[in-house]
């Protein structure tokens, strides 16, 4: 099998590290990206990532871990509309649904 579903997790904010930007360069159609820990700041509508997210036609889905958003006071903030919020059970489901998980 040379086509695999892949989950990418990133835990750095886009201004503290270029990991998210690098990860997105290696993200292909059918892949999922999950923002955890400090990477959840990237989900803010106005962040260094604004305008840099893959568009809807890319086949890439971006998720953000809700408990990490809440911890950082971001739940009530203006977040990027295409980024889906999930909790830990959702994180577990994403891992099972994808063949390979890369933690950047």
């Amino acid at each position: 099998m040379d086509w695999k579903r892949m989950l990418h997790t990133v835990n750095k904010s886009p201004t503290e590290s270029d990991k998210l930007e690098t990860c997105l360069r290696f993200t292909q159609a059918g892949h999922a990206v999950l923002l955890i820990e400090n990477a959840v700041y990237a989900a803010l509508a106005e962040s260094a990532m604004a305008g840099q997210w893959p568009d809807k036609s890319s086949g890439i889905t971006v998720y953000v871990l809700t408990p990490d958003l809440a911890a950082r006071g971001l739940l009530g903030r203006d977040l990027h509309p295409d980024i889906r919020q999930i909790d830990y059970p959702g994180f577990v489901r994403l891992v099972t649904e994808n063949d390979v998980v890369q933690s950047w």
Partner: protein
């Protein structure tokens, strides 16, 4: 599904050990299996029984020990990473003539080969790192 976890950062300083724990709890609650959690690099600090956090904070080390006992999970440390960072089992203390070991219950020193082995055996190997 069978998961193996790899933790490469120490407790408290970085959130990765907390994320790994919350993930493990959620996975087990969903009926998945975790056979082995491997601690590498600064991750070995998760195993020090000499850790004394303030009373109102979570006790990360004891939390791992309890999880392992409850779900029969192997908690393995890379021995080279552990020894150079002062995390010793009884044998390591004896051989190096050091007055105490400091491995918390449920943790064991192992070789890196056992991380590879965990990766082969599990359906998914997940790493949590800085």
């Amino acid at each position: 599904m069978k998961f193996a976890l790899l933790i490469n950062t120490g407790p408290y300083q970085h959130q990765a050990a907390d994320t790994a724990y919350q993930f493990a709890r959620a996975a087990l609650a969903e009926g998945h299996t975790i056979r082995r959690i491997f601690f590498y690099q600064d991750g070995v600090y998760n195993a020090s029984r000499l850790s004394v956090p303030p009373q109102d904070d979570r006790h990360i080390v004891r939390r791992w020990s309890a999880l392992a006992a409850e779900h029969r999970i192997e908690l393995l440390l890379c021995s080279a990473s552990a020894l150079r960072r002062g995390i010793l089992d009884k044998e390591g203390a004896r051989v190096n003539a050091i007055d105490t070991d400091n491995l918390a219950p449920g943790f064991r020193l192992a070789g890196l080969a056992q991380l590879i082995d965990a990766g082969i055996e599990a359906d998914r190997l997940l790493s949590f790192a800085d």
